[in-house]
Symmetry: C2
Subunit: 300 residues, 2 copies
């Protein structure tokens, strides 16, 4: 049996981390966008071999446990103890790992949904399992619940699925430009002094957004957040300013990765791509994924 799940890439616009010793109560406040590209997980389950094996691969390459702790932990928990057979989990990422697209949560949630679909369970329990291991292994705090909500999301109450509360903004026909330039360690940023500024500016951005909720306002506040926290600076800030010249809504920084994202109207796509391709920078253009991740039997 082959099961496929799709979990959208999730870009955080601004955030407030909220730590808690209970991982289901840990989470984040903030806002972000779910893309129609992201993580595809294929779970192949074969019963009746002699032993119980779980294998995980990233983009076609098998990975060891220590390189995929979160997804292996999810699988260990959701494959029943008495199951004997081969479980292969193939994760394919549309964006590079560590660049701020929520791949870690995408792999964890996609794995949890595929295994729960196969072995029994519910959406909420699958999502809670993914969130728990994300938090315990410091993959992220808010990606799972954000990916579960889809669209342009606003985390208004922190916590894992079933505890946190996610709102959604209405949006029109937007394309999303992403310029993924490199990694930024969430762990290092959250361990640093900047976390106090992030908390203050993140809360402020959330308050302001909820007073006047719209995608355009979210981008303005994201940019303010990125600049005031000092996370967006130097060459990346210069690039953001160049990009602003050809689009109507400010672009901002992918939290947390070295990269930018922008909401584009259809008639802005060409010029925006022009700016980044003239500089020989990598980019991608995606749509916004509305609603939940997708789960189903794969026949084809």
């Amino acid at each position: 049996m082959l099961v496929r799940t799709f979990v959208p890439a999730h870009i955080t616009a601004f955030f407030v981390p909220l730590f808690h010793h209970d991982p289901l109560k840990a989470g984040s406040l903030g806002a972000g966008i779910n893309l129609d590209k992201g993580t595809n997980v294929f779970a192949s389950i074969e019963r009746g071999t002699l032993e119980r094996h779980i294998h995980i691969a990233f983009n076609g390459e098998p990975v060891k446990r220590k390189e995929a702790v979160i997804s292996y932990s999810v699988a260990d928990e959701l494959v029943p103890n008495d199951f004997v057979g081969e479980v292969e989990i193939w994760q394919y990422f549309d964006f590079p790992n560590g660049y701020g697209f929520g791949n870690s949560a995408g792999g964890a949630l996609g794995t949890a949904l595929a295994l729960s679909y196969t072995f029994g369970g519910t959406w909420l329990k699958a999502a809670q399992t993914a969130h728990r291991h994300e938090v315990l292994n410091r993959g992220g705090l808010g990606d799972v619940i954000a990916q579960l909500a889809g669209g342009i999301e606003v985390r208004v109450k922190a916590g894992g699925p079933g505890i946190g509360v996610v709102d959604n903004l209405f949006f029109g026909d937007y394309r999303v430009l992403v310029v993924p330039l490199g990694r930024l360690s969430t762990r290092e940023v959250l361990d640093g002094d900047v976390v106090k500024v992030i908390e203050r500016e993140g809360k402020l951005a959330l308050e302001k957004l909820l007073r006047n909720p719209s995608p355009e306002r979210m981008m303005v506040l994201a940019r303010e957040f990125a600049e005031k926290t000092g996370l967006l600076s130097g060459e990346l800030l210069e690039l953001a300013r160049e990009l602003d010249k050809v689009i109507s809504t400010p672009n901002s920084m992918i939290m947390l990765g070295r990269g930018l994202f922008a909401l584009l109207r259809e008639d802005e796509v060409e010029n925006a791509i022009g700016v980044v391709s003239d500089l020989n920078l990598p980019y991608d253009v995606a749509g916004i994924h509305e609603g939940k991740p997708k789960v189903g039997r794969w026949v084809g």
Copy 2:
């Protein structure tokens, strides 16, 4: 400007009502199915006339305030006080009103989403507004939050949007047969002595479902609930038994309407339709609506 929303019809399989003086904390526990047919709401907004007018129509026929108290209350709240112009809300229902398809909540939520999309707001605030007026006017307790979740839903914590928690079951390729035979007053049922039995049997069904969550199990428990509460009896129960003979998963009663619903595998559709059409009964076959309601500008 014309905005269109689609809100799925929601059939309750079993439930536990939970009353509370704060309407956002009132709600229900239970489970149900969202269909890919339901309520379409078209909101037409014209600015710049001399007065502020709000008009609502059901299936093309204008309705007075007292016939559409819930939707008018939602509109009064979400059309800004300083708006001057014409707001026309056209609600079209795929199923008859009062038959247990969540039309009242569908109209309220569709109206709230369309107006929030137009005048500003968020999904959560729109849904809370719809839920609040549903509860205050006793339209229903759990339809709005269930319709927001989509799919086959399980209300595991009662309350309105942002307070209640809704889980989802995984499901395969099912069609849903509905046999809508008449009205059943939610108000009368909930005011009667049966409410105690509903509470006991509803809680039991929910516990059992969460121990072994699947759509097939939900139908078995729904049927037990329907029979043990005495809501399903007489001719309707006889019809349910006839229908059971040609399908693999038990059918059950639409809560609350005089009608039945069943999950059908593709190869069961013809025989199931045969049973109801041989008796000259009305029926419809729908798919399951996954994810959130739809909202957007209507062009065409």
